[in-house]
């Protein structure tokens, strides 16, 4: 049984340039604190997050993947986040079918003004992944 308290989850986050990435910047300008477990990759729109971008880190042992986009109706590209939402639902099925716990992949709507929500999301995600324990792929690759 792994010691989950001392395990530090690794999270990859794909944040859309217009809302969530800017929200993450606001968390910074507001000096909000959250755990340093996340590595952010900027994308123009959440809809540009290829399912491979989610599967690749999970296969490589990342413990969680976060996709951040604008709130429904607020997409800078009109409807990008609706496409993300549809793809996310399909992706959950694929994750389940391929043996990943779908709770490792989060989709969250965080606007440019929601620095606090961004910080809270990372804090919650780290706590939730700690509870789940490390991504089993880490062990699988080791064998």
């Amino acid at each position: 049984m792994p010691d989950n308290n001392h395990f530090e989850p690794r999270i990859v986050a794909f944040l859309c340039n217009w809302c969530t990435y800017t929200g993450a910047d606001l968390a910074g300008t507001s000096r909000l604190q959250y755990p340093p477990n996340v590595r952010i990759i900027r994308t123009m729109c959440s809809s540009s997050v290829d399912p491979v971008y989610v599967l690749k880190p999970l296969l490589d042992g990342a413990d969680g993947v976060l996709i951040g986009g604008c709130h429904p109706g607020d997409c800078h590209y009109q409807t990008g986040n609706y496409k993300t939402r549809r793809r996310y639902v399909a992706m959950q099925e694929i994750l389940r079918a391929s043996g990943f716990d779908p709770r490792r992949v989060w989709l969250r709507w965080i606007s440019a003004s929601e620095g606090q929500k961004f910080a809270d999301t990372i804090t919650d995600m780290v706590a939730s992944l700690k509870e789940m324990g490390p991504n089993p792929m880490q062990v699988a690759w080791a064998i």
């Binding site: 340093p36 990759i41 994308t43």
Partner: protein
């Protein structure tokens, strides 16, 4: 000859903003060890002239072909550094930023984990940089005109400034008359000038201006296009018109807080309870309650502002001075009347405000610190019950007139306009500026600017300042005559494309079409906005968005998850096969 990336990495201390929690020395040494990195340097302020000079010199002397700066958010200084590398002869798209301030040093304490995160973010940026491609920025002609939405004092001023500079302006006002809330005011603080003396000349000049078209009782229903070439559909009494504009100024103002919501003050129930706005109307006539002049007047500050229970935690910035001005007016007209102001804190921050506040106190207005809890009826009079927080006791003050100093709230329809233009709104519901200090009139949408209270409560002087600022900013693209359009757009690799059309199905802009002869998809570069929905939808990896390519992202993920030690050095180079989809 195969392309070999030669990358320079520049790590910024940002004074102590980054260096206080990130071990810069360790990070610089780490960056220098990364594949394809020729040089890694650190400096106090990379964005300063000497900082930029370091980068430019290295590009020239070390023949760098890719540059990574690890500093603040690209939303802050990407344009600065792109211009710097361009001035040294490098394509501006051969530049990448690692955000180690907003998304690292400012959100984590000084620790090994924070330094490790900075290293990872830099490794990720370097991995991407190795795969960056130069892009050609295209210029499009700008429509030499502006659209101003909202005809209050801010909108009028912005329209006037832009028109005076020689551009055509369309001013769209929803109401039948321009002037907005300022038209409802009687006098203004702190110099007791009649509001119409300020507003009327402005309205007359706008009205008479040959380059301003004022559309009254009109509403913007749709906005298409982008900076330089917006197209707005404006409805004016059943008729639709298309207005083209190079830039847009939003000056839609605010709504006054609805006093009925604060039930404890009995607005609408007791005729003696009025609002500061009602007072303006009364004082324009003559202040009378039940046919005689009031003898005991109580003002209550912060009604609808600084109130967590209402979800309005912000200060409305004008009510302190409005109440002070009205209280002074009462003391001047009715010297027999006793005037009390209940306040939480008096905010007299503007030029001349503190002096004005002193005058008001000297003329006999009583300031009592405390927030009234309720208003009771006592015969023909009212009784205002409050805790005087300086005395620490409950007090009851008799009144025959109670004035509620109302705060400002965002307009109900601001969500609709935000959605029309894809603007962000702050937590308080007002439109959000691009940066709270450095870009107070810009929005996150290029070519769209904010003026007046739609961005947050402000007085007339501040509204005018912001309107003139927004007008000046809105004129930049108009004066330039050309704007750069997004170079990071989609392209199709025809050998991979099966012409299935899934990309076209997800494209909001209709930028993808099937080529009638070649039977592959083609991208209209003018329509494409570079969102990338098509690229992730393509089943065969034939569609790519420049600057955010599959290869670049996979390289970033590779270093983030599997590290970037030297054994992997070869794999990271663009020739490596693991990047192929």
């Amino acid at each position: 000859m195969a392309f070999t990336p030669r990358i320079g990495v520049y790590i910024c201390h940002c004074g102590i903003n980054i260096s206080a929690s990130v071990d810069i020395e360790a990070v610089t040494a780490f960056a220098a060890s990364l594949p394809a990195v020729i040089i890694a340097r650190d400096y106090t302020y990379m964005c300063s002239d000497p900082g930029q000079a370091l980068i430019k010199e290295d590009i020239e002397q070390l023949k760098l072909n890719r540059v990574v700066v690890a500093s603040c958010s690209p939303r802050m200084h990407e344009p600065t550094f792109r211009a710097a590398v361009a001035s040294a002869g490098l394509n501006p798209y051969c530049f990448e930023m690692a955000n180690i301030r907003e998304q690292c040093s400012w959100v984590h304490p000084g620790s090994e984990a924070t330094t490790q995160k900075a290293m990872d973010l830099i490794a990720s940026a370097v991995a991407k940089a190795a795969h960056l491609q130069p892009l050609i920025t295209r210029q499009v002609e700008v429509s030499p005109s502006a659209l101003v939405i909202g005809g209050g004092i801010a909108g009028l001023q912005a329209a006037l400034d832009i028109a005076e500079a020689g551009f055509q302006v369309t001013l769209v006002e929803r109401a039948e008359q321009p002037g907005g809330h300022a038209a409802q005011l009687h006098t203004t603080f702190p110099y007791m000038q009649p509001a119409r003396e300020l507003l009327r000349p402005l309205m007359e000049r706008v009205d008479a201006h040959p380059r301003i078209e004022v559309m009254l009782s009109a509403e913007v229903e749709e906005i298409k296009g982008f900076v330089g070439n917006f197209e707005a559909s404006v409805r004016q009494s059943e008729e639709m018109r298309t207005v083209s504009a190079g830039s847009i100024v939003i000056a839609t103002g605010f709504e006054v807080f609805d006093a009925h919501i604060k039930k404890e003050f009995g607005y609408g129930l007791y005729p003696q309870v009025i609002t500061t706005l009602d007072f303006e109307l009364l004082s324009a006539q003559n202040l009378q309650v039940n046919g005689h002049s009031p003898r005991k007047v109580v003002f209550i500050q912060c009604v609808g502002s600084r109130d967590q229970s209402l979800g309005n935690p912000y200060c409305s910035r004008v009510c302190c001075m409005v109440a002070a001005r009205q209280a002074k007016w009462v003391r001047q007209r009715l010297p027999e009347a006793e005037v009390t102001i209940f306040y939480m804190d008096v905010r007299a921050f503007g030029k001349g405000f503190e002096e004005f506040y002193d005058q008001v106190r000297t003329c006999g207005v009583i300031y009592r610190r405390g927030n009234p809890s309720e208003i009771l009826r006592q015969g023909e009079h009212l009784l205002v019950r409050a805790e005087d927080t300086l005395l620490g006791e409950v007090v009851e003050v008799e009144a025959d007139l109670v004035v509620l100093a109302l705060g400002m709230v965002p307009r109900q329809d601001s969500a609709a306009l935000a959605s029309l233009l894809k603007l962000s709104r702050s937590a308080d519901g007002f439109f959000m500026e691009a940066h709270p200090k450095l870009r107070p009139v810009d929005t996150s949408v290029a070519g769209v600017f904010l003026a007046g209270c739609c961005q947050g409560p402000k007085d007339i002087a501040d509204s005018i300042s912001q309107a003139r600022g927004a007008a000046a900013a809105a004129m930049i693209p108009l004066l330039r005559g050309q704007v750069q359009v997004e170079a990071a757009t989609a392209y199709v690799e025809e050998e991979l494309c099966a012409g299935c059309g899934q990309c076209a199905q997800v494209c909001t802009y209709g930028a993808l079409r099937l080529h009638p002869v070649r039977n592959v998809m083609t991208v209209n570069q003018v329509l494409c906005q570079g969102c990338g929905a098509c690229a992730s939808a393509c089943p065969s990896g034939a569609v790519t968005v420049s600057h955010f390519t599959f290869t670049q992202t996979m390289a970033q993920l590779e270093v983030l998850l599997n590290g970037s030690n030297h054994q992997r050095k070869q794999e990271l180079l663009p020739t490596a096969s693991l990047m192929a989809k």
